[in-house]
Subunit: 166 residues, 2 copies
Amino acid sequence: MIRLSRLADYGIVILTRLARERGRPMAASTLAADTAVAPAMTGKILKLLARAELLVSQRGAHGGYALARAPEAITVADIIEALDGPIALTSCADPASTDCGLEPLCPARANWRRINRAIREALAGITLAEMAAAVPDALAVAPEAERLASTGRRAAGSPLLLDGAR
Amino acid sequence: MIRLSRLADYGIVILTRLARERGRPMAASTLAADTAVAPAMTGKILKLLARAELLVSQRGAHGGYALARAPEAITVADIIEALDGPIALTSCADPASTDCGLEPLCPARANWRRINRAIREALAGITLAEMAAAVPDALAVAPEAERLASTGRRAAGSPLLLDGAR
DNA sequence: GCAATTAGAACCGGATCGGTTCCATTTCAA
DNA sequence: TTGAAATGGAACCGATCCGGTTCTAATTGC
């Protein structure tokens, strides 16, 4: 199973929530409460997303985070790359990697590059706007998360959007 | 980094070697020697591939493994699925998974399914024949592996085709 | 019957990753 | 000016997963 990291998983949840603010900033604590992602985790993810320039941050009292671009201009590929690093099935395709003994001859490189490109394009084809648009207003993330948290159907700290692989 | 498991990595190397035999069987030990993949690992992978019916096996003395189908009819997706399980970024998209609290409402499911399908199609678009075809005869896997093994440029047990991520 | 070979399962150590904690820095407001 | 609220950044820890090994059983040819 090729699996998405939880970081990216949570990141998409958080960004989806943020997308509904249309550029208005939100504090990390508010985001954590709304998405039911653990606050510490939320902070970590927001910092990474800010460093990748998907978010802009405002420090100090009354600070917070806001999308750096329109949701239409942020793709799933952007998010995964910000949180998990470059999208590639193998480091073989990474030009910076040089410790592969077969480097100059490796016959599979071209094919792997094809594969990696195809995967990257698949992920770059979905925007944050599309992910967020699928949420009907009546089932918006925040109230839903609260309902689940209160009913206890979901273990604390478990992923909101997706559960673990397998 | 979305990374390919070593199992799948090695599996592709081994199958690429096997593809050059055009249906003739090879013993696991021979394959291990030719590909420089550790013998025990090679055995494990061959067993998995046989169970997935990508290979046919002949037990007993002078036994071995051969491709169950033409290399043109085996895709990278087949190989990865045989060794790593279903190709999907999230179990959310797995109909059998029911422990997602948001199951019936999850707004992202449709999008994830799109993404997963795109990735699967990318991997299903490359055949073993294509992977094998990229090997010029002069640089065929076997002699190359031996050369590297003898020169010691590559640590014993390290991947032949690709090195670890990061 | 013995040697060669695959089938299958259990097992182990280490790397990775999800998650937490701590401290520094910035900003606002009383 | 001081303190509270917030982000920035790094280190740390424990559990899980995975690469890899080992052992035993079953099968087949000579």
